[in-house]
């Protein structure tokens, strides 16, 4: 365990984040650690930096963590969360420019094979350029 890149799913909706994580677990299995979060600090639709930091730490792996996001604020808040991590962890976390559901499944599939963080990110991001 933990010798694979971790996956974090950040959506404005906790239901979408959870549903995406469920799909990843069913399609890829449990060898990849998947954490998710969604919702603003009041529980409404939105994203929120403290929960994203918590999810990154939950999915933590020495090989790094790939984050998949839905809309604008999820990306901005995820980038902010990465910057607020302990300095030695920051360079091991990337926010992927990829669709959230497909990107999460592709990233987790790649991660399950033991790939590096850069490989995981590249596979997820191929979806955006296709």
């Amino acid at each position: 365990m933990n010798d694979t890149v971790g996956i974090v799913i950040v959506s404005h909706s906790k239901d979408i984040a959870k549903g995406t994580a469920d799909m990843v677990r069913q399609m890829v299995g449990s060898e990849v650690t998947v954490a998710f979060c969604g919702g603003n600090p009041d529980g409404g639709l939105g994203t929120n930096v403290p929960l994203i930091i918590e999810a990154i730490n939950k999915a933590w792996s020495p090989k790094g963590v790939a984050i998949l996001v839905d809309l604008g604020g999820a990306e901005t808040n995820s980038e902010m969360a990465v910057e607020m991590l302990q300095p030695e962890r920051r360079h091991l976390v990337v926010v992927c420019n990829a669709p959230i559901v497909e990107g999460a499944v592709m990233a987790a599939t790649e991660a399950a094979g033991g790939s590096s963080l850069e490989q995981v990110r590249a596979v997820a991001e191929e979806l955006s350029s296709a």
């Binding site: 603003n40 600090p41 009041d42 604008g72 604020g73 901005t76 808040n77 980038e79 902010m80």
Partner: protein, 207 residues
Amino acid sequence: MSLEPETLKSLVRAAAEQVIASTAELTALDQAIGDGDHGANMKRGFEAVLGKLDAIGAQPPAEALKTIGKTLVMTVGGASGPLYGSFFIAAGDALSHSRQLPDDLVEVFACGVGAISARGRSQQGEKTMLDVLFPVLETLKTEAGKPDLIARVRATASEAVARTAPMQATKGRASFLGERSVGHVDPGARSSCVLLHAVCNTLEARQ
């Protein structure tokens, strides 16, 4: 001359109260071209700032600005949290590096605006808060030392907000609307103007 704790406190209080008072207006603007949460998000963030007002007032200005920034980052819950948060954190960093208020206002403000631009990977002309903040930075530079600087900043902010209406958004949620974003004032530009006006009014009243 340096920024007195009482001045800082009254500026923060006024800015927070004005943003909170503008919740409905910001919500309405954001419903037109965004997802309608800008008012509620800003209200939540600045209520959290108000809750820390005494602690903020007790800190040196550099630390106070960073506390405001971190509070916004952690509580706003939308993209505006990291954007405004980065402004205050970068401005606080600038003050930590031997700059002073009000003497180095232009440099400190420029650091804040630069941080928003970097965080949002956005420039002027994309129908965002930067379309108010860059023109205000320009006014701070060109009108520095003039007796009516405050009035000019206020006027610049108001005019800059109005100029966002005909713009087409290419950044942020409003960019999904493309041409349909034209004709609406940008909510982030408006909230920047509210904050700047609160600061201007407070400084004027203390003169």
